[in-house]
């Protein structure tokens, strides 16, 4: 009986102590800042729901991690200087503040060992970073691109720095003519990019490896590539074209004239799907903008264009014949496969154009024409075979008809005899 009583007393004493301990532990993990800031009006408003989306919040960081103070305390003293409260971070301080953790390899290794830690160093070399150092606080700092309080990793498609969203993120400043006033740079980059083949690849085909702003300009170290470096930037994807261009006469000529390599013919932000018409003399033509009609280079241009056109037409003609044969039920799948090889040769020739050497282009064209001559002949042979089959069918049906008539007459004859 005494034992029961003693145990009951111990429990009665232990329960309040346990509850106090629980409240202390809860307070330590609690982010009390949000209790007030959820109810405030923007820009001071940060809701719990919004902050819960933030990667830092998910990793256990609180408001105090950036703003200082004591996020576990509900008192206003928590926002005192004594508690280390920094308040609103000034724009000029933001890169250094983020860099405190993001430039610390040992610290970042705990959360994401593969994440780079040179963002701040790169930022300082960027146009944004250099201007910030000079006291221009209008330029982009970390939060302008990555967001704040609901910052998501770049791999998240909702992130402002996900490849799908980067162009739009950059355009928020760079397409704003008022905001960009004074910087003396164009504001139509995004409008042009939105019409480009790269934008189509990214948004229509969902190819996230397609180029967006940061692919050519860099991200944290964003700066326009120099005139001489353009082909290096493009060559990260268009390697063969770059190899051809490197060996061509245009490379030195463009450099001497301070012309920006690839951009001269293909433009920069609004790059369109290149057509053979670039080699022509019409509206899309590019060669004739520099070369005089009739000179040696113009003759080479005309030769290359004629070569490309001849292979393109040969492919189309063979496709047409094979299409008719296929629609007639003929088996031409092998020829169809060979047609793909001819198409590959045409693509190869279009790449070789960047060498600006007619003999090299002609080699590819001849290889393609050899294939189309074969496939065209296969298509024609299939059509001859189809006609032969139809003729055979005609004869067979004729023979069947004769037998039917014969049988009918025979039946009539034997039945007449029987009667």
């Amino acid at each position: 009986m005494d034992t029961w009583r003693n145990n009951g007393l111990r429990f009665a004493l232990a329960l309040p102590l346990f509850m106090v301990l629980c409240s202390v532990v809860r307070a330590q993990t609690q982010n009390t800042c949000l209790d007030c800031h959820s109810a405030l009006d923007p820009p001071l408003q940060v809701t719990e729901e919004r902050f819960a989306q933030d990667i830092h919040s998910q990793k256990g960081l609180t408001c105090a991690s950036c703003h200082g103070g004591d996020s576990t305390s509900a008192d206003l003293d928590a926002m005192s200087k004594a508690a280390g409260f920094r308040g609103k971070i000034e724009r000029k301080q933001i890169p250094e503040l983020c860099g405190r953790c993001h430039s610390d390899a040992a610290f970042m290794r705990q959360y994401n060992p593969s994440l780079r830690t040179d963002q701040l160093a790169q930022y300082k070399t960027s146009v944004h970073g250099r201007r910030l150092a000079q006291g221009d606080y209008e330029v982009a700092v970390c939060i302008d691109c990555h967001g704040v309080h609901d910052l998501r990793p770049a791999s998240d498609t909702r992130s402002k720095v996900n490849p799908l969203n980067i162009a739009e993120t950059c355009s928020r400043c760079h397409s704003n003519a008022d905001y960009m006033k004074g910087y003396n740079i164009p504001t139509d980059q995004f409008a042009k990019y939105a019409t480009s083949v790269h934008h189509e690849a990214m948004t229509v085909r969902g190819d996230r490896s397609a180029p967006t702003c940061t692919t050519c300009h860099g991200n944290h170290g964003a700066a326009p590539p120099g005139v001489g470096a353009v082909q290096n930037v493009c060559s990260t994807c268009h390697a063969f074209q770059a190899q051809m261009y490197e060996k061509s006469s245009h490379k030195d000529a463009f450099q001497a004239a301070s012309l920006p390599g690839c951009v001269v013919c293909h433009s920069n932000h609004g790059i369109q799907y290149p057509t053979d018409a670039k080699l022509g003399t019409g509206q899309e033509a590019v060669c004739v903008q520099c070369h005089s009609p009739g000179d040696a280079c113009d003759q080479a241009r005309a030769k290359m264009l004629s070569d490309l056109t001849s292979l393109d037409e040969a492919i189309k003609n063979a496709d047409k014949v094979l299409g008719i044969a296929e629609a007639s039920g003929m088996e031409v799948s092998q020829a169809r496969l060979e047609q793909d090889q001819a198409r590959d040769e045409l693509t190869k020739a279009r790449v070789t154009i960047h060498s600006f050497q007619t003999d090299l282009v002609e080699q590819d064209i001849q290889a393609g024409l050899k294939i189309t001559a074969m496939t065209h002949a296969e298509g024609k042979a299939a059509l001859v075979e189809r006609n032969r089959r139809r003729m055979g069918l005609g004869f067979s049906l004729g023979a069947i008809l004769i037998v039917l008539v014969g049988l009918r007459l025979y039946i009539r004859q034997i039945e007449a005899k029987a009667r």
Binding site: G329, M330, E331, S333, Q334, R389, R390, G392, L393, S396, L397, I400, L401, V403, L404, L407, R408, Y410, I411, I414, E415
Partner: protein, 361 residues
């Protein structure tokens, strides 16, 4: 004495040939306004014989196995002399055979040719129709192209839904959990050995029963002839009916040749088990009404799986249909009206669901 007469005498001396073919000479076929329906069974038999001949010719070049099947059919279509024609005839004859078999079955239902004493003729005919559909299902996979591969995958998956034995049946058909080269080997075995053996046996039984009981006369004609025996007309089976049947076979041959020459069956792309299923996977047309029904049944009906319900209903319907003659008690009773109604419903349902299946996206 002609050579033919000498051969006839030679056979007669040894096997009493004249005695053997006596029943054929005596056999007659009733002549009335619906006699043309009698040709359908014969045309189906002719198409089966075409299948056997073209199948044997295809076997000369076809190689089963996931690595060789497609290439061997491609070789038949492009390199073998008249290979394209043989394969196309095999394909079209298979489709026409199932079509004429269905038409034959419904003509038997509507003319009540299944009635006593021909119940077993009906049962053997129905079993032959099931076997023909089995031929179609197993033969579809043999070229090992994308469409056939995924259609077989879907088809065997449906088999797997059958309660209790479904999974084991699916494993048996596939030769494993998935459709692989092992499935192809099995289907090839079923298609060229098991099914032809069973079908030949059943055709002999079916023909023997037809021979034994003679041709059925529609009840209305039978009543009229009983009342006035002078009106009854018969035609000698040999040679009169047989020559007419031969004409029907020639017409079928002409249709077969025209379809094969104008629309040779395409080969498609080689099956890639790792590729995603292409859009619009559909079975052969004669399975379409079942496939479309299973697609339209809700996933859950009360507490039961919708697909399982569909399979059970089709299974029960097939068994009832097989036993159809036993529900017809003769005369003008309720059973007869019910069977005619069920026949009209089945035909309408099959046509409507097949058309719907092809039109639905």
């Amino acid at each position: 004495m002609t050579l033919f007469t000498r051969v006839q005498e030679w056979l007669d001396e040894r096997f009493h040939w004249a005695e053997l073919i006596k029943p054929l000479r005596k056999k007659t076929v009733p002549v009335h306004t619906r006699s043309y329906w009698y040709f359908l069974g014969g045309i189906t038999l002719f198409l089966f014989m075409v299948q056997v001949c073209t199948g044997i010719l295809l076997l000369l070049y076809y190689r089963s196995g996931a690595n060789e099947a497609f290439e061997s059919v491609q070789y038949i279509m492009t390199r073998v002399q008249f290979g394209w024609l043989i394969r196309s005839i095999h394909f079209w004859a298979a489709n026409l055979m199932i079509l004429t078999a269905f038409a034959h079955m419904f003509s038997v239902v509507f003319l009540r040719a299944y009635r006593r004493p021909r119940e077993l003729t009906w049962v053997s005919g129905m079993l032959l129709l099931f076997l023909a559909m089995g031929f179609g299902f197993s033969g579809y996979l043999l070229p090992w192209n994308t469409l056939a591969f995924f259609a077989t995958k879907v088809g065997t998956e449906i088999t797997g839904q059958v309660p209790v034995v479904g999974h084991s049946l699916m494993i048996f058909l596939r030769g494993g959990e998935d459709v692989t080269g092992a499935t192809l080997t099995r289907f090839f075995g079923f298609h060229v050995a098991v099914l032809p053996g069973l079908t030949t046996l059943l055709i002999l039984v079916h023909l023997a029963l037809v021979q034994y009981f003679g041709m059925s006369v529609p009840p209305s004609v039978e009543t009229r002839w009983s009342a006035s025996p002078a009106e009854a007309r018969q035609m000698k089976f040999f040679p009169n009916f047989l020559l007419r049947e031969l004409m029907a076979w020639y017409i079928a041959l002409g249709v077969l040749g025209a379809l094969s020459a104008i629309r040779p069956w395409e080969l498609g792309a080689k099956a890639d088990p790792f590729a995603p299923a292409p859009a619009g996977i559909r079975p052969e047309w004669y399975f379409m009404f079942m496939f479309q029904t299973l697609k339209k049944i809700p996933a859950r009906v009360w507490f039961l799986d919708g697909e399982v319900i569909g399979i059970l209903v089709f299974g029960a319907a097939a068994i009832l249909w097989l036993l159809l003659p036993f529900f017809d008690q003769g005369g003008r009773g309720r059973g007869r009206k019910f069977i005619t109604g069920a026949g009209v419903f089945a035909l309408t349902y099959i046509i409507a669901m097949t058309v719907y299946g092809y039109m639905a996206k």
